[in-house]
Structures are given as structure tokens and as C-alpha cells.
Amino acid sequence: MKVWFHKVFNFYLDGFKNMSVSNRKLWVIILIKLFIIFFILKIFFFPDFLGSKYNTDKAKSDYVIEQLINN
């Protein structure tokens, strides 16, 4: 098992090492994009609306039914 993991790790490592400069730039863009999406947009701009207001499923469903009934 350990040998297998080692092989897989080396497979990826060699793959990344042998990349051309332009391809490395591409990976930099990907990492920046993922950072913006998951660590800036998700955390600061896209909170779970119901999750941030209510802790239980019961409270969430009570809120949503109010929305359905009173509009």
C-alpha cells in the first residue's frame, strides 16, 4: 500500500515538475481562481442565507413556510 502511494505521489510530482513554463502559468491562474472562489467569494460574499440565520432544520422550515404563506 505504502509503495503504491509513493508511486502515485511520484507520478504527480514528476508530472508537475516536467511542465513547461506556460503550463505552470496556467496552474497559477487556476490556483488564484480557486482561492478567489473558495476563500473570498464563498466566505465573505456567499454565506448560506438560512444557515447563517437559523441553527435547526425546524427553524429553517418555519421561516420558509412563513415566506410561502405570507406573500
Binding site: 514528476d14 496556467l26 472562489i37 438560512l50 422550515s61 420558509v64
Partner: protein
Amino acid sequence: MEHFNLALVDWSRAQFALTAIYHWFFVPLTLGLSFIVAFMHTIYYKTGNEKWKQMTKFWMKLFGINFAIGVATGIILEFEFGTNWSNYSWIVGDIFGAPLAIEGLLAFFLESTFIAVMFFGWNRVSKKFHLLSSWFVAFGSNLSALWILIANAWMQNPVGTRFNPDTVRNEMTNFFDIALSPTAVFKFLHTVSQAYVIGALFVVAVSAWYLLKKRHLTFAKKSILIASVFGLTASLFVALTGDSSASNVAQTQPMKLAAMEGLYDGETNASLYALGFLNNEKNNTNFKGIRLRSMLSLLAFRNASAFVPGVNDILNGNKEQGILPAETRMEKGRIAIQSLADYKQAKKEWNIELASQKLQEFEENYPHFGYGYFTDKEAIVPPVKLTFYSFHTMVGLGLFFILFFAWLLYASMKDKVDKYKWILHLSVWSLLLGYIASELGWIVAEVGRQPWTIQDLLPVGISTSHLSVGSVQTTFFMFLVLFTVLLIAEIKIMLTQIIKGPEEGDSHV
């Protein structure tokens, strides 16, 4: 509905549309190009010819650029569900949960695991396993699309579920009813086959550019041959599945079909408007152009004399055809909403008998639930002109692609493809037409079903969260900037690679 902030609804809608449109720039190329790469890889595996290896590696590299830039852009749509569309998310949660979980666990895992083997695996894994990886990536990408499209199809035709008034959520009653509903099957087949057309157009466009520049001639001609076979097969399949999809729309979303065809007054032997202009003022069809008599009835219901309801039939009802007036449905919807409120109150007061009575009343009227939120029946009519022109332009382009690929295949087989300069120029620009057709398809599907997020059950206005308009505007413009930068980056990197051309001994992405 008046209690809802229309500006908020419109900005939330605009943000979702913007994100989806940008996301859809990346997806079809991934879906289409992955199969073309797998085909080329298979030919290399079978023949051992280094030229095919070079071709596989080149198109694989362009596939990789698109995949890398586009990956995770779809996740933003899921963020928006939780933030901007929380009521909707809660109500559909149990239905979306299963397909999206399968998508995340199975398809994405398959795709992301084998993509590394596909790119890094040259001379590092066995040829057979390497080829298998290319196919796994292609199938994995398409499998991802399957689950997303099943979820979308359920919103268009909510089957296989039961609304639980206690949890306020739709619960799955039969997974296969959802996954194998004709709406889901046709949507998936139509969407992915259209993506294959984009993949083929991309290969044709790049190769045609090489021919115009008199570079990599053999490579470009072989690529065009493969792409034209793939593109012709796919574009024929798009027409076939499009026909089935439209027939399904006729049965499940008659208002959408009426908007697609600009049909205000329903008729038997309904005509198909083939080419012309629509003037739909005062809710009357005023079409100037070529009509194909009985064709719409035939295509929609497989019967040339079938009645096809128009917008006015759905608004005002048609007793003869068994169509309820919108106002009756609005009344029934209000009864459903009131019964739901009374049911909750009766349960609170432990009045079991009344709760049971109200629940029955609610379930009887539930198919009309969403109509209860409207006070003006005109609100259930989608933007007709936009839907009509989007649909007809899409169909026109679809027919053009069939002829285009057929001609290209013929010219390729006669080895004459580089003799016609104008067709090479057209080939380069056809990629843009492919994207236009693809985005128009989504406009038909999504604008045509307005004002619903879940057909007949949940209007868009009730689906949104109570946020400030400013916060949605802020994220709208953030996305506009982010996605535009990503798109520019993709085009720039792609062009750099295309200009470099297919070279021997390229390193992998």
C-alpha cells in the same frame, strides 16, 4: 408577490444568468473536445502512428487549458442557490441533493482522477491504461453534465416527488421517475450532443486557420476529417433530440411552446413559422413570413390535425380542449396556499381532524400552488419575442451546422477542403455561431419557462432570499470582472498554444 422587491429578484436573476452563461462558455468545449481527443487517442493506440500521437497531444493540450480555466466556475451557481435563492434551495433541497451528490462523488472524482493520468501518463503508464484514462475523462465529464441536467429537468417537469408540508421540502418518491423522465433524458441528450457540435466546430475552426495560414496542412486536414464526422453525427443527433425535446415541452410546458412559436391563438393543423418576423402586440400573432401548415401540430403531438394551445388559450382557458383558465388556476393556487397556512395552524393547535381536512384540500390544489402568488394572469406569460427569436435562430443555426459538416466531410474525403478559401473563413467563424446557438438554447429553456423556478409550483419571486439589492449588485459586478478576466486568460493562452502549433515533444499541461 407585491411584497417582494422586484429589483432584488431581477438582480438575482441577472446574476444567475450571467454566471450560467459564462460557465457555459467552458462546459460544451470540455464535453465535446474530450471525446474528440479520446477518438484520436484510440486511432493512435490502434495504428501506433506518431502523427496521431501528435494530434492527440495537441488537442489534449487545448482541452486541458479549457478544463483548467473552466473548472469550478459552476460551483458559483451552487453558492448563489444558498445565498440568493434560499427559499428555493430549501424547497428543492432533497431533490437536488441526490443528483448533485452523485455528480460530486462519482463523476467529478472520475474526471479529476483520470485527467492527471491522461496528461501525465505519456510513457509512464501502459498504453492501454492511458487510452482508458482518456475515455474515462470523456465519460466522467459527460456524467457530470448528466446529473446537473437531471436536476434542471426536474425544475421544468417536477415528477417523482411529493411536497412535505411539515418540512416544507420536496421529497423524492421515485429516483428513476426523476432520472429517467423524458424531460431529463431529452434534455441531457440534446445538450451534450450540442456540446459535441461545439467541440467539432472548435477543431474545425483551429484547423481551418492553419490551412488559411498554410501551416501544418496534413495535421489540419486530418483534424477536419475527424471533426466533420463527429460534428455531422452530433448535429444530426441534435436535430433528432431537439425534436423530441420540443415535443416533450408541448406536453409539459405548453406556455413555453406557445412562446417558442409565437402562437397566441391555438389552432388545429397549427403552422410552423419557418422564416420571418413576429409582431406580437396586443396578444395577437402577427407573423410575416413562411409558414409550414400543420407542421407544428405534427412536430408537437405527432398528429398533423392536433390542437396546439396558444398563449391566449392558456390565459383564458379553452373548455373544448380541457384547458383551465389562468384565473381558475390562480384561485386554486390561493386555496392551496391558504390550506397550507390553515394546516400549519391546525397542527399547532393539535386539531388533528381539521389538519387532515386542510391537508387534503392542500394536496388537491397543489398542482396549481404557484399560480396563487399572482394577481395578474399576464404575469405567467414569458417574454415571447425573446423566446421566439432565440428558438428560431437556434434551429436555423442547427440546420446550418448539418449542411456545413456534410459539406466539410465531402470536401475532406475528396481532399479539397483547402481549395475553398471562403469555406475556411466560414469555418473559423462557425465556432462563434456554435456558441451563439448553444447559449440561445439555454435562453429558450430558461427564459421560456419564466416566471417559474419550479414549473407551476414556485415562482421566481418567492424563491429569492431577503437580501439587499446592493449586495447582489456588488457580487454581480465581481463575477462580471472575474469571469471576463478568466475568459480573456483562456482565449489568450489558447491562442498562444494555437499559434505555436502542434510540435513534436511538447510537454504536457
